[in-house]
Structure formats: C-alpha cells, structure tokens
C-alpha cells in the first residue's frame, strides 16, 4: 500500500469510528469509560514521542495532563474564557514547563531525569492541593464548560466523545507520521545512539527539548479534553500514581508505534473494570500485571504484531555526487592539541596538517591516543588545550553537530549505527545533516540510496541495521558519513573485523573516494592497507606524534619501528 492509500484508509476508518460512536446507543457508563480512555490516549501519545521515539523517561506526564486540565477548568470558570481559549492557555503553560524540564536533559539522563520529573510531579501536586485560593485545593473545580459550536451539541456526552475520538485520531495520525519525518528520525537517532546522532549533525539537545515540549503539549491536550469530559477535576487525579499509569500504558501498548498508545490506554482503562470482581485487590493484580508485562512483553502488545518488513529499492539508483572543488593547501590544521582525563594524558600536544584531497593515515599502538584525537576532532571531547582549524575556521571545542554542519563526517571503531532503523534510514539521517544542501526528503532518499550504492550496499537498503553482518554495518556507516557530503571524512579502523576480501574491497572504496577529491583521515592498524591508500602518515605514541611523512619515510623511521611496527623478533626472551 502506498503512503497515500494508507492515509486514506486511516481517515476513512477514523471517520467510520467517529460516526459509529455518534450512531450507536452506548450506555452512559461505557461513554464515560471511553471518554477517559480517549483523553488518556492523547496524553500517552506524548510519551510515545518522548519515550518511544526519543528514549527519554518521564514520570511527570500526569502533571502535564493536570496542567492542561486546570487550564481548561480555571479558564472556563474563574477566568470566564471560552473552552478553546482556556485549552490554549493550558497548552501554553504545559508546553513551557515541558521545555523547562527538557532543558535539564542537557546535564542529566537516566535515573536523574526520572528524579527530576518525579520532583516536578510532586511539587505540582502539592501546589494544586495547597494553593487553595486559585486551584480550590483538594476539593477541586466544578462546572467546567465544554466548547460551544452552533449546530453541535457538545453537552451530549456521546457527541463530546466523538469529538475526543476525532482529536485522538488526528493526533495519533500526526504522531505516526512524525516517525518517518526528519524530526522523527532525528529523535530515534538520539534514542539509538546519542553520540552518533551528534556526529551526523543532529542537535541532540534541541531534539530532546522538542520531544519534551511535544510530550507536554499532548499531555496538556489530553488533560484539557478530560476536564471538559468530566466537568469536575481534583488534584488527586493528576498525582504521581497517574504518571505511573500513563507510563505503563505506553509500555504495555508498545512504545514504538502511535497505535501502542491507544492499545495501552484502552486496555488499562478497561482492565480495572474487568478486574472489579477482585474487589479491593484489583489494583494489586494490576501492579503484578505491570511486572509481568515487563518480563514477558518487552516491546509491548503492539510489539507482538509489528515486524520490520525488508524491502528492496525499486527505483534506479543515481551516482553519488561527491566531488569537492579542487583546492590546494591545508584543509585541517591542528596545533598543540591536548586532551587529558584527570592525570591521564591521552593526547598530549599533537600537531597535524591534512592537505586538501589527501588520504592521511594516523597510526600507532593501541592506547596511543588516536581515537581520542578523532573524538576531539569530531567534537565528542572538548580539547584540554590547542587549536583546530578547518578551512581557516577555528573549530576547537565546538559541539559535534556544529562540526558535522561544518563538513566533518566520521565512522566509529565499534560501529555506531542507529540499530533499530533500516540501513536506508540511517543513511538518510546522514544525508539530512544541516549544510548538506539537501532540501527535502525525496532528495535525501535519492542521495542516501546513491551513497549506499557507492559502497555496494543498495540491495540491503531496506534491512534493519542491527541485522546486517559486521562488514556490511561498517559499509553502511561509511555511507551514512558520505551521504552528508563531508569535506573531511574521519575513519576509525575501518578494516577492523574485515576479512582479506572485504579489506581489498575497502581499499578499492578508499581509492575511489580519493579519486573524487575527498579528504580522509584514517586510523588503521593494517599497514598493508595504509601503504596502499595513504598519501601521508602520522605516527602517535603516548599521545604525542613521533613521526610524520610519506609512507616510505615513516615506515622506515627507526623510532616508529621500535615503538610500533617491530622487527623480526630475536628469540632470547626480553
């Protein structure tokens, strides 16, 4: 099914569902349950974006739900606003708090983030409970208004439910669409491998803030609809336990897909109803169910049904445009570069000049600081001292995504692909780096396919990155860097783990890249490979460079032989 056809089917199904809700005689009790499920599902979709797509935990979704609800409640009662104006007020407040919470991810992740969100949740609950003059305190707020539209009787619960469902379908569709858009891919890249995401040009901090903002917005939207639905709210509906419930919903349904939110919300609203026969113990069973879900359904219910579909590219694949304006002179110049970790001087005063269009190899024993140097050049580490100049621009200490935008592309020694995405999506993310000159998705896809074709991987574009064999993952990683149209390509041990045939193919690939005028800095242990492709070699040992020159000179340098290459061993043990 084409995307267009799929959208059509979705819209028709949504319209049908809404029409059914309007037409069928649903009991008042069922309508209330469905109202609750629909408004919760909207909030859970926020968690799909935040946790599912972006991999950030939040235990404060009920707080955002509450902000939206109190926005509508206070707006339509105390402030005398219309429903829509009050809802927008709630959404703005929720989103602002979402952004504030998201900014804490600059420094924090994992448990700390969980703690920040819990704290926010607790403080909000305390404020809602104790700021009685504004929020009404534990008694809550009554007589919340619903929207007024001529010709539509929102006062009828079933009509209001239809509106909630329509909104849920709209938001769900948008969240599903987001997944394959540029922002959605960037979010998944941050989730799968934050380090690599930065290096391919994604401003990871910004993406995380947007994810928090969207999540808060959807939380607020769900809360606003909830307030309108029940016309009465109180602080205990938006407490920590409810945040847990929302989180459980998204995990139960499946975090990977928007539909998971609907499944999870629907099920957990209905489940307690089905468990009513257990009387006072039904919530205990619910808690046990949460544990069992975690143990037996790691990908949620939707995870049981969804499977990555492998496809092969159909359209003819164009050639990869790589050519760089031929310019003489030095592309990258490094002076006195140092990176210390506590007392360890991993890089200790390195000078390096890389000529335009050359292949420059960096060799040295394991632990000599080569990878650290690459990490400094690509912005993963801030240098302790020294300067880096790229095309006459001082770039030392810039963030990875800024350096990527300046044209530095790289691969990693232990391959860092976005493992849950297809090979093509990995490379599309590379193609969409800021400054690559790609304006829209069609162009990015064409370029990504071309890059995959260039490394000989076009056939496997539709496979999941994690399922590719090692050698192919390396090639996909190189394609991801190439698709960003870099001016300088940093390769960290590209031959590691390759067999002889694959190594020979790599040599050919590197030669072709050099033929296109691409400048390459290469870390490699395989001297045979280095000798075949390198124009120049720099040798590092103990974070300092010990030799520099053409392969012929360097490989004969006595200090290099002693420190690294070695001679035929004498058999008197040292």
């Amino acid at each position: 099914m084409s995307p267009r056809a799929r959208t059509l089917v979705y819209v028709v199904a949504a319209a049908l569902a809404v029409a059914l809700v309007l037409a069928l005689p649903l009991g008042e009790y069922l309508v209330k349950l469905l109202l609750q499920a629909a408004s919760y599902a909207i909030a859970v979709l926020g968690l799909t974006v935040l946790l599912g797509y972006t991999g950030q935990i939040s235990l404060a979704q009920a707080a955002f739900f509450g902000l939206g609800a109190y926005g509508v409640a206070l707006g339509t009662t105390t402030l005398g606003l219309g429903f829509l104006a009050a809802l927008i007020l709630g959404l703005v407040v929720a989103t602002l708090f979402g952004i504030a919470l998201g900014s804490s991810t600059l420094k924090l992740g994992g448990h700390y983030l969980a703690m920040v969100t819990i704290s926010f949740q607790q403080i909000l609950t305390l404020v809602l409970t104790n700021w009685i003059s504004v929020t009404g305190g534990p008694d809550g707020i009554r007589n919340i208004a619903r929207p007024h539209l001529p010709g539509i009787d929102f006062e009828n619960n079933q009509v209001y439910l239809a509106a909630c469902l329509a909104l849920l379908f709209a938001v769900g569709g948008l969240v599903a669409l987001l997944k394959s858009r540029r922002l959605g891919l960037a979010m998944q890249a941050v989730r799968d491998n934050e380090l690599a995401a930065g290096v391919v040009g994604i401003n990871t901090f910004r993406v995380k803030i947007i994810a928090f903002a969207l999540s808060a917005l959807l939380g607020g939207l769900g809360g606003g609809m909830f307030a309108g639905a029940f016309r009465y709210i109180s602080p205990d509906q938006f407490a920590f336990d409810d945040s847990v419930v929302l989180l459980t919903m998204v995990l139960l349904g499946g975090v990977e897909a928007a539909i998971g939110a609907a499944i999870g919300a629907g099920l957990l609203i209905l489940l307690p109803e089905w468990l009513r026969f257990l009387k006072q113990f039904y919530l205990a069973v619910y808690g046990a169910a949460v544990i069992l879900i975690m143990v037996f359904l790691p990908a949620g219910i939707w995870g049981l049904f969804s499977r990555h579909r492998v496809w092969k590219p159909a359209a003819p694949i164009g050639p990869l445009e790589l050519d760089i304006e031929a310019a003489a002179g030095t592309l990258l110049s490094v002076r006195g570069l140092a990176k210390h970790f506590g007392g360890v001087r991993a890089v200790d005063g390195v000078d390096l000049d890389i000529a335009q269009g050359s292949v420059h190899a960096l060799i040295g024993p394991n632990g000599s600081g080569k990878t650290t140097l690459l990490n400094v050049l690509s912005g993963i580490y801030r240098p302790t001292a020294g300067s880096i100049t790229l095309n006459a621009r001082a770039v030392a200490g810039l963030a990875p995504h800024v350096l990527a935008a300046a044209g530095i592309g790289r691969t990693f020694q232990n391959i860092r692909l976005f493992h849950s995405l297809s090979a093509l999506d990995n490379v599309i993310i590379g193609a969409e780096r800021p400054g690559s000159g790609i304006a829209h998705r069609a162009a990015a896809t064409a370029r990504a396919l071309a890059a995959l074709g260039f490394v000989g991987m076009a056939e496997r574009a539709g496979e999941l990155a994690a399922s590719l064999p090692y050698g192919h993952q390396r090639l996909v990683e190189i394609a991801r860097a190439l698709a960003g149209h870099p001016v300088l390509l940093l390769l960290d041990e590209p031959a590691a783990g390759l067999n002889l045939t694959e190594k020979q193919e790599l040599v050919e690939l590197l030669k072709r890249l050099r033929g296109h005028g691409l400048t390459i800095l290469l870390i490699e242990h395989d001297m045979d490979l280095v000798e075949q492709v390198a124009d120049r070699i720099t040798v590092l040992n103990f974070g300092r460079h010990i030799a520099d020159g053409s392969p012929a000179e360097v490989l004969r340098h006595p200090e290099v032989i002693a420190a690294y290459l070695g001679e035929v061993p004498s058999h008197e043990a040292a």
Partner: protein
Amino acid sequence: MKLLELDAVAAAYGAVQALQSLSLGVAKGEIVALLGANGAGKSTTLRAISGLLRPTRGEIRFEGAPIAGMHPERVVRLGIAHVPEGRRVFPGLTVRENILLGASNRRASRAQLGREADEMYEIFPDLLRLQGALGWTLSGGQQQMLALARGLMAQPKLLLLDEPSLGLAPLIVQQVFRVIARIREQGTTVLLVEQNARIALSVADRGYVLETGRLVTEGSPGELWDNEEVRAAYLGGKVTKAA
C-alpha cells in the same frame, strides 16, 4: 592430552558472528599467543573459554572435561583465571583488597590469604608501597601488574591474558612480559592475546593467527615471522628490511 582444547567453537554477539569454527589447543606449561587484527575474535575466544560468552557451537575442554557454556564463577574454580582487556581493577578497592579478592575461587583462611598476598609483592615489588592505594589512582602499568597479581591469586592452572601491553610504555611492556615469562617458569600455562605480535612472540612457544573469527595459520614464532605473507597481513609488521 592437552590442558585446553577448543573444537570448532563458534560464538556471536547478537547478530554479529565473532567466532566461526575455531579449533586450537594449549599444552601444559606452554605460553601460546593468539594474534590478529582488532576484531579478529581474539578476545572473544578468551571470553568463550572463561564463560563470559556462551559459544553457539563447538566444544571447549579443560583437562578433558567439557566447560563450554559453564558459568565464569565455576570455570575459575576449575583453575582458569582470566585477566581481561583493560585490567578491570576494582577502582574503589585498595590494591591489597584487589589482590585478596583474586582468591575468591577457593577456600582459604584470612591468614593464609594474607601470606599469599605478601608473596605477590615479591613478584610485583611496586605494589607493596601501593597496597593501601585505591585501584583507580594507579597508572596503567601498575594496574596491569595488579591485574596479573590478582589473576595469580586464583592459583590458576591456565592464565588467560588479554592485551597486557595495551597502552603501556615500551619499558613497562618489557617488565610485564618478563613477569609473564616468570609466571610460566613457576608452572602456570598461559594463553595470551596480543596485538603487539612482536613482543608476544618473544615469549610464546607457539602462536595462532586469527582473521574474522577463523584460524589462518599456526606455528612457532620463527615460522610465523618467516612467512612474509602472514607477517604483512596479520602481524602488522610490514617492514621487512629495516634500513
């Protein structure tokens, strides 16, 4: 009978096949070197032997008994000590505590352990004055010595060493390898993974060369170095006629 035998062992990390049908043997009293490029499967081999990684196929026998898939806590009780890559010294424990914990695979009184730890300072004199220092404060060379001492406290019949030269200055590397030679003299068999083929072959009796999880060739140090193709492709020693 060989002390250790691997028979068609295969191992994988998730979808990535790291070892494909590797067979090798280590006789009692030998130092055997496993050589090859990064990613060739050398460390994986050691991890499969010590039980950190369960082989997907194949047999591993130690003193004739199968050990493939056995938990590391049991493997070390049989007499195989694994000193992994990066030393893995416990950063928040002192040097002496690190050494004492090396004997966790066997029963011994606290006093007995204390005496054995003192003996370690004879082999590793540098550690004596550092015995109260926390692990993370040690330099790379000191950490390597500590990791070796901790490995020896297990009183292993077979010592698995992963990249003992990693990140050490040439002088320190020589010291480390002198200790390795001495360990063998005292009767411990050593299986050594090294990227630095030159130094490894200087102490080894035999070497195996791996490529992408497969055995390429094996032989005595002399044989391996005399084979120009092997040397060029796998041992990193491209320079044949040093000027």
